[in-house]
Symmetry: C2
Subunit: 420 residues, 2 copies
């Protein structure tokens, strides 16, 4: 095998463990220097390849690379940038090939979600179409947990743990004050299209009646009357009601609750928030005192409470990607496959990218309780292993000691610049 | 000393470590059974004393009581209920004395903030005025960090750590995506009257230029032009701007930003949120893509990321309260006193309640940078020790294993009930 460099890029919304995958890629490549010379990381994802802004990871110490495993967000920078089809934008692909050629890149590792899987598949096809040999391997990552074939997506387990822990803690707070104060608490979580993250809030409950009492999924059409009735029942029975609401919660006609018409003092339409919308509903119709929280980026960057299982899997898919490349694979993704035994086990297997790209995995209906407001035992069995174990980062001065990269750029070789 | 029972109650907004104080009280009392027979805890705070709903803590195992040290929120229930003056509502005080007499209570431990210190002082005066001997000791607790004499208030250090960690993590997220996505991130935190909690966000920065780039304090009048200019400068210089905003941020005339006129679709005024108000401002005036988070109860219940220093101090003030009672003290509060050496040390000393009640400690102006948008080195020196150390709870099934009390109620002895 000829000695080539590798290109690695992070794509889309970042997670608490995407850098653990980067760590897996770089550490594994370093163990195979006879085949992979250097790993160049795209500055701000694929944009870095187009603009020839390549970070030379060989300039980072082993200690720094190891520290990526406990560092959240995208250390090399990420972006939301989807390549069009080769027919639609040939120039972009020609540019990529130019950059790859100039820097002797033979391996393309793309760390992202569904859109990136599609981009990665297109890159893998360049080899044939454009006569430049490159192996493209997709490394799964998405808090949305919506990639097919893989049992779960690295990044999801840690958000799930954050949401479960936060739901449990905030509910204890409400429970202790509800006799004279707040009776309804709403936590808004991510998940525009699928309720996986909201579902994880259900793991806060250890037994029947525990909070959360209501989970709102995008998959279940929101019914105001049913919802308010359920809130009232919960307050009557438990003294309070905790609600975990997906940002994607929507009415039957597909209108998001978050878009349901809040305007500011100037009459401008406000980008909502499901939580305040629900809170107003509760206040106006039931008169209960409420509080609400919006976790936003806090949930997907919360490396301090990452799932150990998630960290391990994120590293493993990075490592496996390099191993697959070394084995001559192209257009594949290392997928996490769950064992069949009752005790949770997992292994990494190869999935063809053609079956991954552009397929969105929704939450099965039997993961949601009949009334649509909670998770089932089946969902719990699926979700629970993914939040197991704690993997604490080291601390310095009371805050996590996250990696800081030197980010030494590879000298540019191309005369032409490229505007994205 | 005659053998009496003790009454313990939690008051006001709960914290991640108020139960650690409860643990300190109960464990210490158990070591002095020759003087303190039993500790009865008020169900839902002082209301439990008025309604004779007393939880017999002697029915809880040593293991459960020990677990309180790692359990957030108020395990016995808390309330917001301020006793009026004896002149204004004699009936309440007479009722308290009745309940105390009926249950042979000679020690009153009240775990709360400024209002509770005032209540505690009033109870201590009952002894003289109403001829019933009782020793009243106040145990400091408040995330607001606004009690005088004590160097800091148990509960604050853990919120501070949560805010510092969250600010750091979310900022890494924004930094990694800002080239093509969100440029401004706003985290709204508690602190209606004082900026202590917002200030703690400043601890996320390890060096000049690190996020957060802007902190908004209630102490500094909000100036829209100056604010927007600072946001723009920050985006230009760092590529993004992280803002930590106190919920109490206000204009010069005292109007809260959170009240600045958002109405819902029906024209009802909405209880705002500083973060969305600022986000709209940024969007409309500068056009930057933004995200915002509202931590709400998550911040004060986040026992999973509690400060070890805070947990230790919370326990220590509970323990010291019992020791002061045993030493015959009345109308005092164990205060945390900072040592004078450069290395952080602290000890517990007695503070007279008359000097604690109704005094609010604001943040000194020299803790806030000249431009009003950040903390000074002096603030950092004060704040940093309070978030030191991690004190992780045990986990079960991926979520913290928090204490669950049996809550065995003491048999009522009074014929009359009391309505609060």
């Amino acid at each position: 095998m000829a000695k080539k460099n590798a290109f690695y890029a992070q794509s889309g919304g970042v997670t608490a463990v995407i850098n653990a995958s980067a760590c897996g890629v770089i550490e594994t490549a370093r163990q195979h220097k006879q085949h992979i010379a250097k790993v160049y990381a795209g500055h701000n994802g694929i944009i870095g390849a187009l603009t020839e802004e390549l970070i030379d990871t060989s300039k980072e110490t082993a200690r720094t690379i190891a520290a990526l495993k406990h560092t959240p967000s995208g250390a090399f920078g990420s972006c939301r940038y989807k390549l069009k089809s080769i027919e639609q934008n040939l120039a972009e692909y020609e540019r990529l090939i130019e950059v790859f050629k100039a820097h002797n890149i033979g391996y393309f590792f793309y760390n992202g979600g569904g859109d990136s899987a599609d981009t990665c598949l297109k890159i893998s096809q360049l080899s044939e179409r454009m006569g430049y040999p490159i192996q493209a391997i997709h490394i799964p990552k998405t808090v949305d947990n919506d990639l097919p074939i893989t049992d779960n997506c690295p990044g999801f387990g840690s958000v799930a743990k954050y949401v479960a822990v936060s739901t449990k803690e905030a509910s204890l707070d409400v429970a202790s004050m509800c006799a004279t104060s707040t009776k309804v608490f709403i936590l808004e979580v991510m998940g525009r299209h699928a309720g996986w993250i909201a579902a994880a809030g259900g793991l806060a409950a250890q037994q029947e009646g525990d909070a959360p009492h209501i989970i709102l999924f995008p998959e279940i059409a929101f019914n105001k009357e049913k919802f308010l009735r359920k809130v009232q029942q919960s307050v009557k029975k438990h003294g309070f009601c905790t609600i975990v609401a997906s940002e994607g919660a929507q009415y039957k006609d597909g209108t998001f609750l978050a878009d349901a018409g809040t305007v500011d003092a100037f009459g401008h339409k406000q980008l909502g928030g499901v939580a305040p919308t629900l809170a107003n509903m509760v206040k106006q119709e039931l008169g209960f005192k409420y509080h609400w929280a919006l976790a936003d980026y806090l949930q997907r960057s919360a490396r301090h409470i990452a799932s150990a299982c998630d960290v391990e899997q994120a590293y493993a898919v990075g490592k496996a990607a390099v191993e697959m490349a070394l084995a001559g694979k192209n257009a594949v993704m290392p997928a996490i496959i769950r064992g069949k035994s009752k005790r949770y086990t997992w292994s990494i297997q190869e999935a063809p990218l053609s079956k991954v790209a552009n397929v969105e995995r929704m939450m099965p209906r039997n993961f949601i309780s009949r009334d649509g407001f909670n998770i089932t035992e089946k969902a719990r069995e699926y979700l629970a292993p993914l939040i197991q174990g704690e993997d604490y980062p080291p601390y310095k001065n009371g805050v996590p000691d996250y990696a800081t990269l030197k980010k030494v750029f590879v000298a540019k070789k191309l005369k032409q610049t490229f505007k994205v």
